[in-house]
Amino acid sequence: MTREISVELQKVSKLYGQDKVVNEVSLSVEKGEIFVLIGPSGCGKTTTLKMINQLIPHTSGNILVNGTDVAELDVVELRRSIGYVIQYIGLLPHLTIQENIAFVLKLTKQSKKLQKEKAEELIETVGLDFSHLNRYPRELSGGQQQRVGVARALAANPDILLMDEPFGAVDPLTREQLQNELLRLQESIQKTIVFVTHDMQEAFKVGNRIGILRQGELVTLGTPMEIVKSDDEFVKNFIGQGALFEVFDTIPVTRVLEKSVPLVRIHEKVDLQAEELKDWENVFVVEPDGNCKGYIPLSDLNKDGSFAAEQIEPLPKASSPDISVKLAVQEMLWGGRTWLPIVDESTGFKGIVLFRSCAALVAENGR
């Protein structure tokens, strides 16, 4: 299946004098994906990013944004149509949070009313309170400022976001939180994001695809799993030992959540002929409110599929949907089971993760 391309680089180079900072890089970013550019310092990742919105003009090659060559576009218009988030956040200290979020709208002379509405909408989107709107950037913590930075980039409702080490300046705990929030946000906004980082773990975590740059050249490009399995010596060294394990640590468990879990209500019968029962050893008993009461091994059911309430075995210790595949596998090993229930603290039973699905992740990426 070919997907729509949002950003395309065709043999793009950047020269400073004789210095080739970026050397004939070609890549395409698909609509709605998070594309990570990573590499050691001075590899040209930030330069590559900034050429997309022409903060740095490219020397040769073509850059296409939504199918149009940026050379044919007015740079100011181009930049207004692309969200931009940087490491030092760049919130303007003389403007309130509301004015900062609405900055692009102010530049394009939108009405005050619209600016206010948009700021109110976006401050909620990034998980901050209305009361922050009238504050100044210096009154906010680093993590909060970074959230405002993301909100600001979304103000003009761009399809594309450029993020230049957006979480580089915050502490590790906050960074992880911001990464999780970005992923959650991305599920609903579905933007095309080009994300620059030097942190491999971050790349594995947020990236749908990763491009590794070295000395201005694109060394490799692929999904996190493809990157992990790369034979390239530089890539192996760069991502480090135990990278496969790290990938499992950065894949959210929700990705391997079983789509159809055999469920039955109390006092109802299990349809033993049902297609969905195939491959399962247990059925799960749910209450009318959707919460899981426990499970019954298929072998314990009566011939007609009925069962008694006393037969229901309590659910083993559940995990939250926020955990990684690596943690889920660990939980299963500790519990001596090949499956793990996932329960959200607030919304209740989410589903079941099977060991074989986790293992299949490896095979899945051999496609």
Binding site: K50, N53, L55, V76, E77, L78, R79, R80, S81, Y84, I86, Y88, I89, G90, L92, P93, H94, F103, V104, K106, L107, T108, R138, G142, Q145, R152, A153, A156, L162
Partner: protein, 216 residues
Amino acid sequence: MELLASAWAYFLNRQDLMFEVLKEHVTLVLWATFFTVIIGVPVGIAISRTEKLRNTILGSVSILYTIPILALFGFLIPIMGIGSTPALIALVIYGLLPVIRNSCVGIIQVHPQLKESARGMGANDLQLLFKVEIPLAFPVIFAGIRTALVMNFSLATYAVFIGAGGMGRIIMQGIRTFNTGMMLAGILMVVITTVLLERMVGVVDNRIQKRYSLSD
């Protein structure tokens, strides 16, 4: 004490004259500061962009700044005669250095990351200047204007030498007529008003610095 008493007596006797010279003085200084800002701020911003021009202009203004005011008057009188115009020009020349220098420095020191992020969001050159650079440089620019204003206020005492009036009139006349009361009244008036002005502008400046104070 006797001297102070005679100064006070003079002040009470000639209140009309005292307010007249104060008015002349303030008018001259305000106009001078107005022109200093009108010329100095744009020049300062302009030279923040090009390094070549910057050194030439800052160099020339510094030289002008070091000329003693009496020498400058001596230079201006043959060209423009006496009166408020040459006095105004002299004051503007002195005020230019702090205003140009601070405007230039203020703009230059705006953090490049802030400028880049504004540009990245699609600010054009004018928007970058008026919505980002000038507001962020404003505390520094204002500090320059403050220096020019206070300095001009005290320098304007010399305007009497070129026939532009001001508070210097009282002092000069007091000296010429050996009227110590008059002389002292003039001196005290200059000192007190200058200190008061400095204080007032200082309060405004502090507010501005606080309002715009940068921190991450």
